[in-house]
């Protein structure tokens, strides 16, 4: 409860900060709109020439695109900037001020810089998802919805765990933005289902950089293409990954000695 309140507080201060640059904020939102629309156009053009891609129909592909922007937006809202700042703190030696605060430090560094304007991306993700659902037509059951919610949450946690592990490495290697850049570069591949990619890329997107799974599995769930076993495997995998990331974080924290002290 206390942590939720803190989260709200972070969001409020960051929003005030963002509102100082209003023209920039408007431009950011405009940009996000353009990006989403052009991605949608890309899907439409592909389906101009075919009725299905690896069994995914046009509506299902639009749903997938919606999920992609949901995941991408959610991680941009909460984690992206926070982790960037965290690495800066390690380098500058200012992390000490965060560590002495009476709050769980993992929570603090993961969520401190909530980017409110990025909510636009989430909203557009929801919109695209709705367009996809409308196009597919027909209802989907309670079970599908549950599976979707569960796998989406898992997908986000998977991405979060990976980011946490990568950022934690900065305790040992001071410059790891490069590793994060690898993650960003693969993000683009999340816009299509992992099964269209050749072997090496599919494996990368499902294990090392789990953005592929994080997007594809929830989209499969909403398209009713997911078996129960898949949901269970996803949940199991996520729990172990989260546990590992958290352990790794504590391990890194112990070896942190402060810079320039």
């Amino acid at each position: 409860m206390r942590y939720l309140r803190l989260l709200g507080l972070f969001a409020r201060t960051e929003l005030q900060f963002a509102l100082e640059y209003r023209a920039n904020l408007a431009l950011d939102l405009f940009e996000e709109l353009i990006i989403v629309i052009s991605s949608l156009v890309a899907v439409l053009i592909l389906y101009d020439h075919t009725s299905a891609i690896n069994g995914w129909t046009e509506g299902q592909m639009i749903e997938l695109l919606g999920v992609y922007y949901l995941v991408q937006g959610a991680q941009a809202v909460v984690f992206e900037t926070s982790f960037e700042r965290f690495m800066e703190h390690v380098r500058m030696g200012t992390l000490d001020f965060i560590l002495i605060k009476p709050v769980d430090s993992q929570f603090m560094i993961s969520t401190r810089h909530v980017q409110v304007p990025q909510f636009g991306q989430i909203a557009m993700g929801v919109l695209v998802l709705a367009i996809g659902i409308a196009q597919v037509g027909g209802g989907f059951g309670v079970l599908d919805t549950l599976a979707f919610a569960a796998t989406l949450a898992c997908g986000l946690l998977l991405v979060y765990s990976l980011l946490l592990v990568l950022s934690t490495l900065s305790f040992w290697f001071v410059r790891v933005e490069n590793l994060l850049a690898i993650f960003w570069s693969f993000l683009d591949a999340g816009r299509f289902p992992v099964d269209v990619y050749p072997g090496w890329l599919r494996v990368t997107l499902s294990t090392v950089v789990p953005i592929g799974i994080a997007v594809t599995v929830p989209a499969q769930a909403i398209a009713g293409r997911l078996e129960l076993a898949g949901v269970v495997a996803m949940i199991g995998g996520t729990i172990s990954m989260c546990w590992f990331a958290s352990w790794f974080w504590r391990r890194g924290l112990r070896s942190y000695t402060g810079a320039s002290a």
Partner: protein
């Protein structure tokens, strides 16, 4: 002229030494350059596979050849100078450069070329890997190879000039990230990253009239042998025209911009 060559050599040496210090960084930028073409190649291949192996007049192997060419061309024509320029304006680093006898453009020309030379050895094996994974088939003749050289040079110059054209807006707005992102999306839609222009459907007729296709699509089609020699010559002519236009536009904007530029943070 001799003077200019001497200056160029000096900047070259300095830039090469700087680049050698950031090897990892260059490889990362390479990753960004490769992922997007591979993503769309995979999507088009999967689509073609559902359609019995071909879409329009392109088979999966043609798509592979096209996207291998696009990857190479986008790396060779890459231009990021607008971002640097914005930073220089914001941090007040532009002013000393403006005072030097050489136009700031020259520094980024050299920086640009050095980056491309430095990343090429890492890119080529990756291109071979992609071509092999998707079984690319090139219909390239010697004539195509010959025409590819001027075409890719023109494309690089064109993209470079457009980058600077965008950058010049920073004289007025200080931040150009927003403008650059919109520009990147136009490139994404109309330059042939998303699909070869002929497959753009209703957008194709617009795309042929815009400059973006002549930055990536034209040299790529020539390299894979997808355009006849006559068509290739036509594309090169249009490229030259766009280059001349963007050069004029840049000169005009730059002069206006410098005149009303007031330094930041000095």
């Amino acid at each position: 002229m001799r003077q200019l060559l001497r200056v160029y050599r000096a900047i070259f040496v300095a830039e090469f030494q700087a680049a050698a210090q950031y090897r990892v960084q260059s490889v990362l930028w390479l990753l960004f350059a490769i992922i997007r073409p591979v993503v769309f190649l995979a999507a088009w291949s999967a689509a073609a596979a559902t359609q019995g192996g071909r879409i329009g007049d392109m088979t999966i192997s043609d798509f592979a050849a096209y996207y291998v060419a696009v990857t190479l061309v986008s790396q060779l024509t890459m231009s990021w100078n607008a971002y640097d320029f914005e930073l220089e304006i914001r941090q007040g680093k532009l002013s000393p450069k403006l005072l030097r006898p050489l136009h700031p453009l020259h520094y980024s020309v050299v920086e640009n070329i050095v980056f491309k030379v430095a990343t090429m050895p890492a890119l080529l094996p990756v291109l071979v890997l992609i071509a092999w994974t998707f079984q690319a088939r090139f219909a390239t003749t010697w004539g195509h190879v010959l025409l590819f050289v001027p075409s890719v040079l023109l494309a690089a110059a064109l993209r470079f000039m457009f980058g600077w054209l965008m950058a010049t807006f920073a004289f007025w707005t200080t931040r150009v990230h927003g403008i650059m992102h919109v520009y990147d999306r136009l490139v994404f839609l109309f330059a042939g990253q998303l699909a070869p222009l002929s497959l753009l459907g209703g957008l194709a007729s617009i795309a042929y009239w815009l400059p973006f296709g002549y930055m990536l699509w034209a040299p790529s089609e020539i390299l894979r042998g997808g355009a006849s020699i006559d068509q290739a010559l036509g594309m090169i002519a249009i490229q030259a025209m766009w280059l001349a236009l963007s050069w004029l536009g840049f000169l005009g904007l730059w002069q206006l911009g410098v005149r009303q530029f007031s330094a930041v943070g000095a």
